[in-house]
Symmetry: C2
Subunit: 267 residues, 2 copies
Protein backbone atom coordinates (compact mmCIF):
# COMPACT_ATOMS: atom_id res chain seq x y z
CA UNK A 1 0.00 0.00 0.00
CA UNK A 2 2.78 2.44 0.89
CA UNK A 3 4.25 2.42 -2.60
CA UNK A 4 1.15 4.27 -3.85
CA UNK A 5 2.32 7.29 -1.91
CA UNK A 6 6.07 6.99 -2.43
CA UNK A 7 8.11 8.85 -5.05
CA UNK A 8 11.49 7.20 -5.23
CA UNK A 9 12.89 8.27 -8.54
CA UNK A 10 13.41 11.54 -10.30
CA UNK A 11 10.38 11.87 -12.52
CA UNK A 12 7.73 14.38 -13.44
CA UNK A 13 4.62 14.00 -11.32
CA UNK A 14 1.40 15.93 -11.27
CA UNK A 15 -0.10 16.56 -7.86
CA UNK A 16 -3.50 16.60 -9.56
CA UNK A 17 -3.15 12.83 -9.89
CA UNK A 18 -3.16 12.51 -6.09
CA UNK A 19 -6.51 12.83 -4.41
CA UNK A 20 -6.24 14.71 -1.07
CA UNK A 21 -9.41 12.91 0.05
CA UNK A 22 -7.94 9.45 -0.50
CA UNK A 23 -8.10 7.16 2.55
CA UNK A 24 -6.85 3.92 0.98
CA UNK A 25 -10.27 2.37 1.39
CA UNK A 26 -10.57 2.92 5.14
CA UNK A 27 -13.94 4.32 6.13
CA UNK A 28 -12.91 6.18 9.23
CA UNK A 29 -10.67 6.61 12.24
CA UNK A 30 -12.06 3.50 13.95
CA UNK A 31 -10.75 1.32 11.14
CA UNK A 32 -7.15 2.23 11.87
CA UNK A 33 -7.26 2.98 15.61
CA UNK A 34 -5.89 -0.34 16.79
CA UNK A 35 -3.11 -0.48 14.24
CA UNK A 36 -2.26 3.16 15.01
CA UNK A 37 -1.83 2.40 18.71
CA UNK A 38 0.32 -0.64 17.94
CA UNK A 39 2.56 1.31 15.64
CA UNK A 40 3.07 4.04 18.21
CA UNK A 41 4.42 1.42 20.57
CA UNK A 42 6.60 0.01 17.81
CA UNK A 43 8.01 3.48 17.19
CA UNK A 44 8.88 3.90 20.85
CA UNK A 45 10.70 0.57 20.78
CA UNK A 46 12.55 1.56 17.62
CA UNK A 47 13.58 4.84 19.21
CA UNK A 48 15.03 3.04 22.21
CA UNK A 49 17.12 0.74 20.06
CA UNK A 50 18.15 3.63 17.84
CA UNK A 51 19.33 5.57 20.87
CA UNK A 52 21.25 2.59 22.22
CA UNK A 53 22.86 1.44 19.00
CA UNK A 54 23.78 4.90 17.66
CA UNK A 55 24.29 3.47 14.19
CA UNK A 56 21.69 5.71 12.56
CA UNK A 57 19.85 8.98 12.98
CA UNK A 58 16.41 9.91 11.69
CA UNK A 59 15.16 13.09 10.10
CA UNK A 60 11.43 13.39 9.40
CA UNK A 61 10.83 16.39 7.19
CA UNK A 62 7.34 17.86 6.74
CA UNK A 63 6.34 20.21 3.97
CA UNK A 64 2.86 21.34 3.00
CA UNK A 65 0.67 24.36 2.40
CA UNK A 66 -0.71 26.46 5.24
CA UNK A 67 -3.35 24.48 7.19
CA UNK A 68 -2.04 21.16 5.85
CA UNK A 69 -1.40 20.09 9.43
CA UNK A 70 2.36 20.14 9.89
CA UNK A 71 2.05 21.06 13.56
CA UNK A 72 -0.76 18.61 14.11
CA UNK A 73 1.02 15.62 12.65
CA UNK A 74 4.10 16.18 14.82
CA UNK A 75 1.85 16.32 17.88
CA UNK A 76 -0.26 13.30 16.96
CA UNK A 77 2.39 10.99 15.55
CA UNK A 78 5.60 11.89 17.35
CA UNK A 79 4.27 12.59 20.83
CA UNK A 80 5.21 9.83 23.20
CA UNK A 81 8.79 9.64 21.99
CA UNK A 82 11.49 9.99 24.62
CA UNK A 83 12.34 13.70 24.48
CA UNK A 84 15.98 12.88 25.26
CA UNK A 85 16.37 11.44 21.79
CA UNK A 86 13.83 13.52 19.91
CA UNK A 87 13.69 17.13 18.90
CA UNK A 88 11.05 19.01 16.90
CA UNK A 89 12.55 21.84 14.86
CA UNK A 90 10.61 24.36 12.84
CA UNK A 91 11.78 26.95 10.36
CA UNK A 92 10.37 30.42 9.92
CA UNK A 93 11.53 33.14 7.56
CA UNK A 94 15.35 33.30 7.84
CA UNK A 95 16.61 36.32 9.74
CA UNK A 96 19.94 37.90 10.67
CA UNK A 97 22.65 35.31 11.05
CA UNK A 98 20.57 32.70 9.22
CA UNK A 99 20.01 34.84 6.15
CA UNK A 100 23.71 35.74 6.12
CA UNK A 101 24.66 32.08 5.58
CA UNK A 102 23.97 29.66 2.77
CA UNK A 103 20.45 28.23 2.58
CA UNK A 104 21.37 24.84 4.09
CA UNK A 105 23.30 26.22 7.06
CA UNK A 106 20.61 26.58 9.70
CA UNK A 107 19.12 23.18 8.91
CA UNK A 108 22.48 21.41 8.98
CA UNK A 109 23.19 22.88 12.44
CA UNK A 110 20.15 21.15 13.90
CA UNK A 111 20.32 17.95 11.85
CA UNK A 112 20.07 14.81 14.01
CA UNK A 113 23.14 13.12 15.48
CA UNK A 114 23.32 9.34 15.33
CA UNK A 115 20.94 7.85 17.85
CA UNK A 116 18.55 10.79 17.54
CA UNK A 117 15.26 11.59 15.79
CA UNK A 118 14.54 15.11 14.60
CA UNK A 119 11.45 16.45 12.87
CA UNK A 120 11.52 19.48 10.58
CA UNK A 121 8.37 21.57 10.31
CA UNK A 122 9.20 23.23 6.96
CA UNK A 123 12.81 23.07 5.86
CA UNK A 124 15.42 24.19 3.34
CA UNK A 125 12.83 23.27 0.69
CA UNK A 126 11.15 26.61 1.40
CA UNK A 127 14.16 28.16 -0.33
CA UNK A 128 12.98 26.66 -3.63
CA UNK A 129 9.25 27.06 -2.92
CA UNK A 130 8.11 30.38 -1.50
CA UNK A 131 11.19 32.09 -2.93
CA UNK A 132 10.49 30.71 -6.39
CA UNK A 133 6.75 31.35 -6.29
CA UNK A 134 7.37 35.01 -5.50
CA UNK A 135 10.23 35.14 -7.98
CA UNK A 136 12.77 36.15 -5.37
CA UNK A 137 15.10 33.70 -7.14
CA UNK A 138 15.24 32.78 -10.81
CA UNK A 139 14.84 29.33 -12.29
CA UNK A 140 18.59 28.79 -12.58
CA UNK A 141 19.14 29.50 -8.88
CA UNK A 142 16.25 27.22 -7.95
CA UNK A 143 17.72 24.38 -9.99
CA UNK A 144 21.16 24.93 -8.51
CA UNK A 145 19.66 24.83 -5.00
CA UNK A 146 17.76 21.66 -5.81
CA UNK A 147 21.04 20.06 -6.82
CA UNK A 148 22.65 21.20 -3.57
CA UNK A 149 19.70 19.76 -1.65
CA UNK A 150 20.11 16.41 -3.37
CA UNK A 151 23.86 16.36 -2.59
CA UNK A 152 23.26 17.38 1.00
CA UNK A 153 20.63 14.69 1.54
CA UNK A 154 22.93 12.11 -0.04
CA UNK A 155 25.66 13.07 2.40
CA UNK A 156 23.30 12.71 5.34
CA UNK A 157 22.32 9.27 4.05
CA UNK A 158 25.98 8.27 3.66
CA UNK A 159 26.33 9.14 7.34
CA UNK A 160 23.50 6.83 8.34
CA UNK A 161 20.73 9.42 8.57
CA UNK A 162 17.37 8.04 7.48
CA UNK A 163 15.58 10.93 5.82
CA UNK A 164 11.80 10.66 5.60
CA UNK A 165 10.37 13.42 3.43
CA UNK A 166 6.64 13.96 3.70
CA UNK A 167 4.38 16.27 1.72
CA UNK A 168 1.01 16.83 3.36
CA UNK A 169 -1.35 17.11 0.43
CA UNK A 170 -4.56 19.10 0.86
CA UNK A 171 -7.01 20.72 -1.53
CA UNK A 172 -7.52 24.50 -1.72
CA UNK A 173 -11.15 23.98 -0.65
CA UNK A 174 -10.00 22.18 2.50
CA UNK A 175 -7.59 24.99 3.27
CA UNK A 176 -10.31 27.62 2.94
CA UNK A 177 -12.52 25.66 5.29
CA UNK A 178 -9.71 25.54 7.88
CA UNK A 179 -8.99 29.25 7.50
CA UNK A 180 -12.65 29.99 8.10
CA UNK A 181 -12.63 27.78 11.20
CA UNK A 182 -9.65 29.70 12.52
CA UNK A 183 -11.36 33.03 12.01
CA UNK A 184 -14.60 31.90 13.61
CA UNK A 185 -13.21 30.04 16.58
CA UNK A 186 -11.79 32.23 19.37
CA UNK A 187 -9.53 29.34 20.46
CA UNK A 188 -8.07 28.96 17.00
CA UNK A 189 -7.95 32.62 16.04
CA UNK A 190 -4.32 32.93 17.17
CA UNK A 191 -3.34 30.54 14.37
CA UNK A 192 -4.90 32.74 11.71
CA UNK A 193 -2.45 34.72 9.64
CA UNK A 194 -3.93 37.17 7.06
CA UNK A 195 -0.93 36.25 4.93
CA UNK A 196 -2.42 32.80 4.43
CA UNK A 197 -5.28 34.29 2.44
CA UNK A 198 -2.81 36.21 0.30
CA UNK A 199 -0.73 33.10 -0.37
CA UNK A 200 -3.79 31.16 -1.52
CA UNK A 201 -3.74 33.16 -4.73
CA UNK A 202 -0.47 31.43 -5.62
CA UNK A 203 -1.77 27.90 -5.14
CA UNK A 204 -1.02 26.66 -8.66
CA UNK A 205 2.44 28.17 -8.56
CA UNK A 206 3.15 26.37 -5.32
CA UNK A 207 2.02 23.06 -6.75
CA UNK A 208 4.36 23.57 -9.69
CA UNK A 209 7.25 24.42 -7.39
CA UNK A 210 6.57 21.31 -5.32
CA UNK A 211 6.38 19.10 -8.40
CA UNK A 212 9.67 20.56 -9.52
CA UNK A 213 11.25 19.83 -6.15
CA UNK A 214 10.00 16.23 -6.16
CA UNK A 215 11.36 15.69 -9.63
CA UNK A 216 14.81 16.88 -8.60
CA UNK A 217 15.13 15.29 -5.17
CA UNK A 218 13.14 12.06 -5.02
CA UNK A 219 15.61 9.17 -5.01
CA UNK A 220 15.59 5.56 -3.97
CA UNK A 221 17.60 6.44 -0.86
CA UNK A 222 15.73 9.64 -0.04
CA UNK A 223 12.19 9.28 -1.43
CA UNK A 224 9.31 11.69 -1.04
CA UNK A 225 5.95 10.62 0.31
CA UNK A 226 2.75 12.31 -0.79
CA UNK A 227 0.26 11.99 2.06
CA UNK A 228 -3.42 12.76 1.34
CA UNK A 229 -4.29 15.08 4.22
CA UNK A 230 -7.86 16.24 3.85
CA UNK A 231 -8.74 13.58 6.43
CA UNK A 232 -6.56 14.16 9.44
CA UNK A 233 -7.02 10.70 10.92
CA UNK A 234 -5.78 9.15 7.67
CA UNK A 235 -2.91 11.63 7.43
CA UNK A 236 -1.71 10.65 10.92
CA UNK A 237 -2.11 6.96 10.23
CA UNK A 238 -0.23 7.06 6.95
CA UNK A 239 2.61 9.20 8.27
CA UNK A 240 3.13 6.87 11.21
CA UNK A 241 3.05 3.86 8.91
CA UNK A 242 5.64 5.43 6.61
CA UNK A 243 7.97 6.17 9.52
CA UNK A 244 7.62 2.76 11.18
CA UNK A 245 8.08 1.01 7.87
CA UNK A 246 11.22 2.97 6.98
CA UNK A 247 12.80 2.44 10.40
CA UNK A 248 11.72 -1.18 10.59
CA UNK A 249 14.21 -1.90 7.82
CA UNK A 250 17.14 -0.80 9.95
CA UNK A 251 19.13 -3.38 11.85
CA UNK A 252 19.09 -1.74 15.26
CA UNK A 253 20.76 -3.95 17.80
CA UNK A 254 21.47 -3.13 21.40
CA UNK A 255 25.26 -2.88 21.83
CA UNK A 256 26.85 -6.17 22.85
CA UNK A 257 28.06 -6.09 26.42
CA UNK A 258 30.57 -8.63 27.65
CA UNK A 259 28.78 -9.66 30.85
CA UNK A 260 31.61 -11.77 32.22
CA UNK A 261 34.02 -8.89 31.75
CA UNK A 262 31.64 -6.52 33.50
CA UNK A 263 31.25 -8.93 36.41
CA UNK A 264 35.00 -9.23 36.86
CA UNK A 265 35.16 -5.43 37.09
CA UNK A 266 32.54 -5.39 39.80
CA UNK A 267 34.04 -8.19 41.88
CA UNK B 1 53.70 34.44 -10.28
CA UNK B 2 50.69 33.17 -8.29
CA UNK B 3 49.63 30.74 -11.00
CA UNK B 4 52.76 28.66 -10.29
CA UNK B 5 51.24 27.76 -6.95
CA UNK B 6 47.59 27.46 -7.94
CA UNK B 7 45.77 24.23 -8.76
CA UNK B 8 42.50 25.16 -10.41
CA UNK B 9 41.42 22.05 -12.22
CA UNK B 10 40.95 18.44 -11.28
CA UNK B 11 44.20 16.83 -12.34
CA UNK B 12 46.81 14.47 -10.99
CA UNK B 13 49.69 16.33 -9.40
CA UNK B 14 52.80 15.09 -7.66
CA UNK B 15 53.88 17.06 -4.61
CA UNK B 16 57.44 16.02 -5.44
CA UNK B 17 57.30 18.50 -8.30
CA UNK B 18 56.89 21.33 -5.79
CA UNK B 19 60.06 22.42 -3.98
CA UNK B 20 59.29 23.30 -0.34
CA UNK B 21 62.42 25.52 -0.39
CA UNK B 22 61.17 27.60 -3.31
CA UNK B 23 61.10 31.37 -2.67
CA UNK B 24 60.17 32.59 -6.16
CA UNK B 25 63.62 34.14 -6.54
CA UNK B 26 63.46 36.31 -3.43
CA UNK B 27 66.66 36.13 -1.38
CA UNK B 28 65.19 36.84 2.02
CA UNK B 29 62.60 38.50 4.22
CA UNK B 30 63.94 41.99 3.48
CA UNK B 31 63.03 41.61 -0.19
CA UNK B 32 59.34 41.28 0.58
CA UNK B 33 59.01 43.28 3.81
CA UNK B 34 57.67 46.47 2.23
CA UNK B 35 55.20 44.70 0.00
CA UNK B 36 54.11 42.54 2.95
CA UNK B 37 53.31 45.60 5.05
CA UNK B 38 51.41 47.21 2.16
CA UNK B 39 49.34 44.09 1.60
CA UNK B 40 48.42 43.84 5.27
CA UNK B 41 46.94 47.32 5.01
CA UNK B 42 45.15 46.35 1.82
CA UNK B 43 43.66 43.35 3.58
CA UNK B 44 42.36 45.53 6.41
CA UNK B 45 40.74 47.80 3.89
CA UNK B 46 39.20 44.84 2.06
CA UNK B 47 37.85 43.50 5.35
CA UNK B 48 36.15 46.80 6.12
CA UNK B 49 34.44 46.92 2.75
CA UNK B 50 33.52 43.24 3.03
CA UNK B 51 31.92 43.85 6.41
CA UNK B 52 30.00 46.87 5.12
CA UNK B 53 28.82 45.42 1.84
CA UNK B 54 27.89 41.93 3.14
CA UNK B 55 27.83 40.59 -0.41
CA UNK B 56 30.49 37.95 0.26
CA UNK B 57 32.14 35.96 3.01
CA UNK B 58 35.65 34.55 3.11
CA UNK B 59 36.93 31.19 4.28
CA UNK B 60 40.71 30.66 4.38
CA UNK B 61 41.39 26.98 4.92
CA UNK B 62 44.84 25.76 5.99
CA UNK B 63 46.04 22.20 5.70
CA UNK B 64 49.56 20.86 6.18
CA UNK B 65 51.67 18.33 8.03
CA UNK B 66 52.61 18.84 11.68
CA UNK B 67 55.10 21.73 12.01
CA UNK B 68 54.09 23.16 8.63
CA UNK B 69 53.12 26.36 10.41
CA UNK B 70 49.34 26.46 10.36
CA UNK B 71 49.20 28.32 13.68
CA UNK B 72 52.05 30.61 12.69
CA UNK B 73 50.56 31.70 9.41
CA UNK B 74 47.24 32.66 11.00
CA UNK B 75 49.13 34.76 13.55
CA UNK B 76 51.46 36.43 11.06
CA UNK B 77 49.08 36.98 8.17
CA UNK B 78 45.66 37.43 9.73
CA UNK B 79 46.55 39.37 12.87
CA UNK B 80 45.51 42.98 12.54
CA UNK B 81 42.08 42.12 11.18
CA UNK B 82 39.10 43.54 13.01
CA UNK B 83 38.09 40.71 15.35
CA UNK B 84 34.44 41.68 14.94
CA UNK B 85 34.50 40.35 11.41
CA UNK B 86 37.14 37.66 11.77
CA UNK B 87 37.23 34.34 13.55
CA UNK B 88 39.99 31.72 13.68
CA UNK B 89 38.61 28.19 13.98
CA UNK B 90 40.66 25.06 14.48
CA UNK B 91 39.63 21.44 14.33
CA UNK B 92 40.95 18.66 16.56
CA UNK B 93 39.94 15.03 16.58
CA UNK B 94 36.11 14.95 16.49
CA UNK B 95 34.53 14.02 19.81
CA UNK B 96 31.05 13.36 21.18
CA UNK B 97 28.43 15.37 19.39
CA UNK B 98 30.81 16.11 16.52
CA UNK B 99 31.59 12.47 15.82
CA UNK B 100 27.89 11.64 16.02
CA UNK B 101 27.17 13.87 13.02
CA UNK B 102 28.27 13.74 9.40
CA UNK B 103 31.84 14.81 8.68
CA UNK B 104 30.91 18.26 7.34
CA UNK B 105 28.62 19.21 10.20
CA UNK B 106 30.99 20.88 12.66
CA UNK B 107 32.68 22.86 9.90
CA UNK B 108 29.41 24.05 8.39
CA UNK B 109 28.28 25.32 11.81
CA UNK B 110 31.21 27.72 11.99
CA UNK B 111 31.40 28.63 8.30
CA UNK B 112 31.54 32.40 7.71
CA UNK B 113 28.42 34.50 7.28
CA UNK B 114 28.41 37.13 4.57
CA UNK B 115 30.56 40.06 5.63
CA UNK B 116 32.84 37.81 7.66
CA UNK B 117 36.26 36.19 7.32
CA UNK B 118 36.95 32.83 8.97
CA UNK B 119 40.15 30.80 8.98
CA UNK B 120 40.20 27.03 9.39
CA UNK B 121 43.27 25.45 10.98
CA UNK B 122 42.74 21.94 9.62
CA UNK B 123 39.27 21.12 8.33
CA UNK B 124 36.92 18.47 6.97
CA UNK B 125 39.81 17.44 4.72
CA UNK B 126 41.26 15.56 7.71
CA UNK B 127 38.40 13.11 7.20
CA UNK B 128 39.98 12.01 3.92
CA UNK B 129 43.59 12.37 5.10
CA UNK B 130 44.45 10.98 8.54
CA UNK B 131 41.46 8.61 8.37
CA UNK B 132 42.58 7.30 4.97
CA UNK B 133 46.28 7.04 5.89
CA UNK B 134 45.43 4.90 8.91
CA UNK B 135 42.82 3.01 6.91
CA UNK B 136 39.97 3.93 9.22
CA UNK B 137 37.97 4.39 6.02
CA UNK B 138 38.26 2.56 2.70
CA UNK B 139 38.98 4.07 -0.68
CA UNK B 140 35.32 4.09 -1.68
CA UNK B 141 34.33 6.07 1.42
CA UNK B 142 37.19 8.49 0.86
CA UNK B 143 36.09 9.10 -2.73
CA UNK B 144 32.48 9.55 -1.66
CA UNK B 145 33.58 12.09 0.97
CA UNK B 146 35.72 13.93 -1.58
CA UNK B 147 32.65 14.27 -3.78
CA UNK B 148 30.64 15.58 -0.82
CA UNK B 149 33.42 18.08 -0.12
CA UNK B 150 33.34 19.32 -3.67
CA UNK B 151 29.55 19.72 -3.57
CA UNK B 152 29.69 21.48 -0.21
CA UNK B 153 32.37 23.91 -1.39
CA UNK B 154 30.39 24.60 -4.55
CA UNK B 155 27.35 25.44 -2.44
CA UNK B 156 29.39 27.85 -0.30
CA UNK B 157 30.66 29.49 -3.49
CA UNK B 158 27.12 29.78 -4.86
CA UNK B 159 26.30 31.66 -1.67
CA UNK B 160 29.12 34.17 -2.21
CA UNK B 161 31.72 32.57 0.04
CA UNK B 162 35.24 32.97 -1.31
CA UNK B 163 37.07 29.82 -0.33
CA UNK B 164 40.86 30.02 -0.26
CA UNK B 165 42.41 26.58 0.22
CA UNK B 166 46.05 26.54 1.19
CA UNK B 167 48.40 23.61 1.59
CA UNK B 168 51.55 24.48 3.54
CA UNK B 169 54.19 22.36 1.85
CA UNK B 170 57.25 21.35 3.90
CA UNK B 171 59.88 18.63 3.55
CA UNK B 172 60.24 15.77 6.04
CA UNK B 173 63.74 17.04 6.86
CA UNK B 174 62.36 20.46 7.74
CA UNK B 175 59.75 18.85 9.96
CA UNK B 176 62.38 16.83 11.84
CA UNK B 177 64.39 19.97 12.43
CA UNK B 178 61.32 21.70 13.91
CA UNK B 179 60.48 18.72 16.09
CA UNK B 180 64.03 18.75 17.45
CA UNK B 181 63.77 22.48 18.16
CA UNK B 182 60.59 21.85 20.09
CA UNK B 183 62.20 19.15 22.19
CA UNK B 184 65.28 21.22 22.92
CA UNK B 185 63.67 24.55 23.65
CA UNK B 186 61.85 24.79 27.00
CA UNK B 187 59.63 27.55 25.58
CA UNK B 188 58.57 25.40 22.65
CA UNK B 189 58.39 22.07 24.43
CA UNK B 190 54.64 22.46 25.05
CA UNK B 191 54.09 22.27 21.31
CA UNK B 192 55.81 18.89 21.08
CA UNK B 193 53.54 15.90 20.69
CA UNK B 194 55.16 12.41 20.68
CA UNK B 195 52.47 11.48 18.18
CA UNK B 196 54.15 13.74 15.61
CA UNK B 197 57.14 11.40 15.50
CA UNK B 198 54.83 8.45 14.99
CA UNK B 199 52.97 10.15 12.16
CA UNK B 200 56.23 10.94 10.34
CA UNK B 201 56.44 7.28 9.37
CA UNK B 202 53.34 7.77 7.20
CA UNK B 203 54.74 10.72 5.28
CA UNK B 204 54.43 9.18 1.81
CA UNK B 205 50.91 7.98 2.54
CA UNK B 206 49.95 11.49 3.58
CA UNK B 207 51.37 12.98 0.40
CA UNK B 208 49.34 10.49 -1.64
CA UNK B 209 46.18 11.31 0.30
CA UNK B 210 46.78 15.02 -0.26
CA UNK B 211 47.39 14.52 -3.97
CA UNK B 212 44.18 12.56 -4.16
CA UNK B 213 42.28 15.33 -2.40
CA UNK B 214 43.70 17.99 -4.72
CA UNK B 215 42.74 15.96 -7.75
CA UNK B 216 39.16 15.63 -6.55
CA UNK B 217 38.52 19.12 -5.21
CA UNK B 218 40.64 21.67 -7.11
CA UNK B 219 38.30 23.67 -9.34
CA UNK B 220 38.36 27.03 -11.07
CA UNK B 221 35.99 28.42 -8.44
CA UNK B 222 37.62 26.74 -5.46
CA UNK B 223 41.30 26.19 -6.32
CA UNK B 224 44.01 24.83 -4.06
CA UNK B 225 47.26 26.69 -3.45
CA UNK B 226 50.47 24.84 -2.73
CA UNK B 227 52.63 27.13 -0.65
CA UNK B 228 56.34 26.24 -0.22
CA UNK B 229 56.76 26.58 3.53
CA UNK B 230 60.33 25.61 4.46
CA UNK B 231 61.01 29.36 4.60
CA UNK B 232 58.49 30.90 6.90
CA UNK B 233 58.93 34.47 5.66
CA UNK B 234 58.14 33.31 2.12
CA UNK B 235 55.20 31.22 3.33
CA UNK B 236 53.67 34.25 5.05
CA UNK B 237 54.32 36.48 2.08
CA UNK B 238 52.81 34.09 -0.43
CA UNK B 239 49.75 33.31 1.67
CA UNK B 240 49.01 37.00 2.14
CA UNK B 241 49.50 37.63 -1.58
CA UNK B 242 47.10 34.79 -2.44
CA UNK B 243 44.43 36.15 -0.10
CA UNK B 244 44.73 39.77 -1.20
CA UNK B 245 44.74 38.76 -4.84
CA UNK B 246 41.62 36.59 -4.47
CA UNK B 247 39.70 39.24 -2.55
CA UNK B 248 40.94 42.07 -4.78
CA UNK B 249 38.82 40.58 -7.55
CA UNK B 250 35.60 41.10 -5.60
CA UNK B 251 33.53 44.20 -6.21
CA UNK B 252 33.10 45.33 -2.64
CA UNK B 253 31.27 48.61 -2.51
CA UNK B 254 30.13 50.46 0.56
CA UNK B 255 26.33 50.39 0.60
CA UNK B 256 24.78 53.43 -1.06
CA UNK B 257 23.19 55.70 1.47
CA UNK B 258 20.70 58.32 0.40
CA UNK B 259 22.22 61.28 2.23
CA UNK B 260 19.34 63.65 1.53
CA UNK B 261 16.86 61.13 2.87
CA UNK B 262 18.96 60.64 6.02
CA UNK B 263 19.13 64.40 6.53
CA UNK B 264 15.38 64.76 6.24
CA UNK B 265 15.02 62.14 8.98
CA UNK B 266 17.34 64.08 11.29
CA UNK B 267 15.80 67.50 10.72
Amino acid sequence: MLENYRLDEKRKVSLQDYDPNDTAGYAGKEDVAENFAQMKEQLQDIQERLYASKTNGVLVLFQGMDCSGKDGVVKKVLSGLNPQGFRAESFKKPTGDEAAHDFLWRAHRVAPAKGHITSFNRSYYEEVLITRVHELIDKKTANSRLKHIQHFEKMLADNGIVLIKIFLHISPEFQLQKINERMENPEKLWKFDPNDLEERRYWDSYMKAYENAFKATATKTNPWHIVPSNNRWFRDYLVLKIIVSALGKLKLEYPQIDIEYMQRQVE
